[in-house]
């Protein structure tokens, strides 16, 4: 009995010494409805609203159409991914990661396995590194394209949305060719990828990268200098560099305020320092600058894609370590040792040292951090994520205050949030 309690206590620090769970205090937060006859009214923007990009609920206090206060209410998409991860082996968790940011699943897949590989001290092959760079940059564009589409809809222009989605469709097809799935890719494994890149896939990515700038130019023509768009977004939701840092903003939202912080440049991983690309920054920190920065980031990602495709080396994709990588399917089917090897790896999993490790990459929405804690076994004791959207969203009450209802929608769109990673 006591060993069971010990084991449970080790894996669940929330449990009291006698094995009973200690409830964490959950204090319900309610915004009081203003009294009848007062000058303000409460409007629930979401969780079912066309402009909340998921199930975000913003409790907005309106004075006429002016936003007095905004309170984001979260949890409508809570799936307990981090807790679920504690009951899965390292490789099984990969499938949870892409559900968190379904707009850039490959970045999440890669970030997670990179953290675990750092924990385990695994060096992946050159081909795998370049392949993951391609995956991540492709999905950065993938995510920014969705942002561009929803941004256009929120500003009232429907046509750029469909232009963006035509290009997204090409990435969907590339996802499908790579993994068989269009959104929930689960493409990475500890020490490598699910499979090698399929025949002709690199050519497909090249074609996508070649064609994307033309679409961006078209959207540029429709929006960038359009007086209505400019008038709707310039000076709206501005945040200074200092405040942006204090709020913990990352990604394009931070860079729009003029802080050139990009994990790819500042703490390079996967030889990002050897790629030639620039980090666009804005100088006003308003919605329009966030728009410009993301538009430019897509062009820079295209540039990186070309370079990565040029240097994609031949060779093995997975590390040649039998404790980590599965034997080939042909071997499994033909000789007993490989079969046993496969069986043991699948049933037992890959052990990780009893250490903890933090690793962050530049996700599409900001700095995406993964914190993993091993206990010597094949499952994590703890797995925590720093979701960039969650932190970015925290700035919305500050950004939206005093603006109009329509501006609130634009500010929300400019932050580029995804509810999967906010609620997790």
């Amino acid at each position: 009995m006591s060993s069971t309690v010990d084991y449970l206590a080790r894996r669940n620090p929330e449990m009291g010494p006698d094995g009973t769970p200690v409830p964490s205090p959950i204090e319900p937060f309610e915004v009081a409805e203003p009294e009848l006859g007062s000058s303000t009214m409460l409007v629930n923007v979401g969780p079912q609203h066309p402009a909340t990009h998921g199930v975000l609920r913003l409790v907005v206090e309106l004075d006429g159409e002016t936003v007095v206060s905004v309170v984001p209410r979260l949890g409508y998409l809570h799936s307990s991914f981090e807790k679920l991860g504690e009951y899965r082996t390292w490789n099984q968790i990969v499938t949870l990661t892409d559900r968190m940011d379904y707009l850039a699943p490959l970045i999440y897949n890669c970030a997670y396995v990179m953290a675990v590989e750092k924990l385990m001290g695994i060096e992946v092959t050159d081909r795998c590194r370049v392949a993951r760079v391609i995956c991540m940059e492709m999905d950065r564009i993938f995510s920014h394209l969705l942002w561009l589409g929803t941004w256009s809809i929120d500003v009232g222009a429907f046509t750029p949305f469909l232009y963006a989605f035509q290009q997204r469709e090409k990435v969907y097809k590339l996802h499908e060719a790579l993994t068989g799935a269009r959104i929930t890719t689960s493409a990475t494994r500890i020490g490598g990828m699910m499979a090698d890149l399929p025949e002709g896939w690199a050519r497909g990515v090249r074609e996508f990268a070649d064609n994307l700038p033309a679409t961006l130019d078209e959207v540029d023509a429709l929006l960038t200098c359009n007086a209505i768009h400019v008038g709707r977004t310039q000076g709206i939701g501005a945040i200074s560099a200092e405040e942006a840092v204090n709020y913990g903003l990352t990604g394009a939202n931070l860079r729009a305020s003029g802080v050139p912080y990009d994990v790819r440049k500042d703490r390079p991983y996967y030889e990002y320092e050897s790629y030639d690309f620039e980090v666009p920054i804005g100088c006003h920190g308003d919605c329009y600058d966030r728009y410009l920065v993301r538009m430019e980031e897509m062009r820079q990602s295209v540039h990186i894609l070309h370079q990565a495709l040029d240097r994609l080396p031949d060779g093995p994709m997975d590390v040649e370590d039998p404790r980590i990588s599965l034997p080939s399917k042909t071997d499994c089917m033909s000789d007993m040792e490989s079969m046993i090897h496969h069986f043991k790896l699948i049933t037992e999993g890959i052990p990780a040292p009893a250490e903890d490790c933090w690793f962050s990459v530049e996700g599409s929405k900001g700095e995406l951090g993964m914190y993993v804690v091993g206990d010597g076994g094949p499952k994590p004791v703890r797995w925590r994520i720093r979701p960039p959207s969650f932190v970015n969203l925290s700035a919305i009450p500050k950004l939206a205050e005093g603006h109009l209802m329509a501006d609130l929608i634009m500010i929300n769109a400019s932050l580029d949030i995804v509810l999967g990673e906010i609620d997790r």
Binding site: V155, G156, A157, R232, D266, P280, L292
Partner: protein
């Protein structure tokens, strides 16, 4: 030739009834196919296919939509004010379908029993009737927004009332310029005056046309002025709580407004049913006879209605109206939406004073021309065209330099500075 055969009361009533039914049917059919055209044209703009499954080229799609809307469940919010909730769509659609009555759509048609005017009701108040009735449409929207007992609908209704009242003013003022030049409020006479001038009013009154176009977009709640429904902000605004046929009523009302506004633009500024560069179709009732114009001595030149001319002018009218319908669609799928305060700003602080100043200018120019004894004709029109052209260019230049949309003038400076591409910031100590 030229002698008029007046219709007897019996035939007047008969033809009147036929015209009411025919015009109503045609307008409704145009509305139905406008929805299809909107979807097909937007699909073309957006590189899609659009609805093409129901019937050849999707031509039966509006019928399918109609059937769907009729057999759908009518929902009624539990807390809605039921009477007004039902009254709202009815009030919205009625003004939309009756305004077409005073728009002449072709040259008079000769029949064995007399000549029939190709207009449902040639009432003497003409354009005033349209302005009066189309302002009633806002009641339907405000009522339904209020009666829905929904905050989004309420905001949409409020926006609609403010916006439509504001642009009613700009619309009316832009029409005043036309009234000055036409000297009358009936649309039949406006067509005739444009034929006599030898120029469509869009040339001598170019700025009034721009004001009218903008105001008509705002009046019909179409993008970029679809504040009341703004789906990304207010779900769909005032008709958030409506479903099935009641929702459809708003939809039909919007498109009927669009059709009327297009026909009105064609009539007020593009000669109505006039065929350009051909005086042969000019026709007006003058002292009990049909005339084509006046000769040098001022004597009327008689003409006579013919079926061919009626058909040709009907075609001309359809082409002009169709062009504006397409323009409406084109604008909707190209431009983003204004913000509410910008719409008010544009209406009150730009269009209203500019339209007033423009009326003064036109009136002044006309006074000078009349004093100089310039006859109403080509020269008269050309002088006004020159004055209006300069004013229009000045107005567009002025507007383009950020007086309407704050920020428009900043776009160049901002473009130069942001995004500033930054080289490797490796010199900094990276954050831990």
């Amino acid at each position: 030739m030229g002698e008029m055969q007046e219709l007897s009361t019996f035939w007047f009533v008969t033809f009147g009834a036929v015209k009411v039914v025919a015009v109503f049917t045609v307008v409704m059919a145009v509305v139905a196919y406008m929805t299809l055209a909107e979807r097909r044209v937007s699909a073309f703009i957006q590189d899609r296919l659009g609805p093409n499954r129901v019937g050849p080229f999707g031509l039966l799609q509006p019928i399918a939509d109609g059937i769907k809307n009729i057999i759908k469940e009518e929902t009624m919010p539990g807390t809605a004010a039921k009477f007004y909730f039902v009254l709202g769509p009815a009030l919205a659609i009625m003004p939309a379908v009756v305004t077409f009555a005073v728009i002449p759509f072709a040259a008079p048609l000769p029949t064995p029993v007399g000549t029939v005017d190709m207009i449902v009701a040639d009432v003497p108040i003409g354009i005033l009737y349209i302005l009066a009735l189309s302002s009633l449409a806002v009641y339907g929207i405000v009522l339904s927004g209020w009666a829905s007992n929904n905050k989004y609908a309420f905001l949409g209704g409020l926006r609609a009332s403010a916006q439509m009242i504001s642009y009613e003013v700009a619309l009316g003022l832009s029409v005043i310029a036309v009234l000055l030049l036409a000297g009358n409020v009936t649309l039949t006479e406006m067509v005739w005056k444009q034929q006599q001038l030898g120029l469509w009013f869009v040339f001598p009154l170019s700025l009034a046309f721009i004001f009218f176009l903008i105001s008509a977009l705002a009046e019909t709640n179409r993008l970029p002025f679809d504040m009341p429904e703004a789906e990304s902000e207010l779900i769909t605004g005032y008709h958030t709580e409506y479903s099935a046929m009641k929702f459809s009523m708003f939809f039909i009302a919007e498109y009927a407004h669009v059709v009327t506004a297009s026909a009105l633009m064609a009539t007020l500024f593009f000669g109505g049913w006039d065929i350009p560069f051909w005086p042969g179709d000019d026709m007006f009732r003058h002292e009990g006879a049909w005339i084509r114009g006046f000769d040098e001595s001022g004597a009327p030149i008689p003409t006579s209605p013919s079926v061919l001319i009626t058909l040709l002018t009907l075609a001309a009218f359809s082409v002009k109206t169709g062009f504006f319908l397409l323009l409406y669609i084109w604008i909707r799928w190209t431009l983003p939406r204004f913000r509410y305060d910008q719409v008010m700003h544009l209406g009150w602080k730009v269009l209203l004073p500019a339209a007033l100043a423009y009326i003064m200018l036109i009136a002044g120019t006309m006074l000078v021309l009349d004093q100089l004894g310039v006859a109403y004709g080509m020269l008269y029109g050309l002088v006004l065209t020159a004055v209006s052209g300069v004013t229009t260019l000045a107005f567009l230049f002025f507007v383009d330099r950020d007086r309407v949309i704050s920020g428009a003038h900043r776009k160049r400076t901002t473009r130069a500075r942001a995004p500033r591409a930054v080289a490797d910031p490796a010199g900094r100590t990276p954050p831990s």
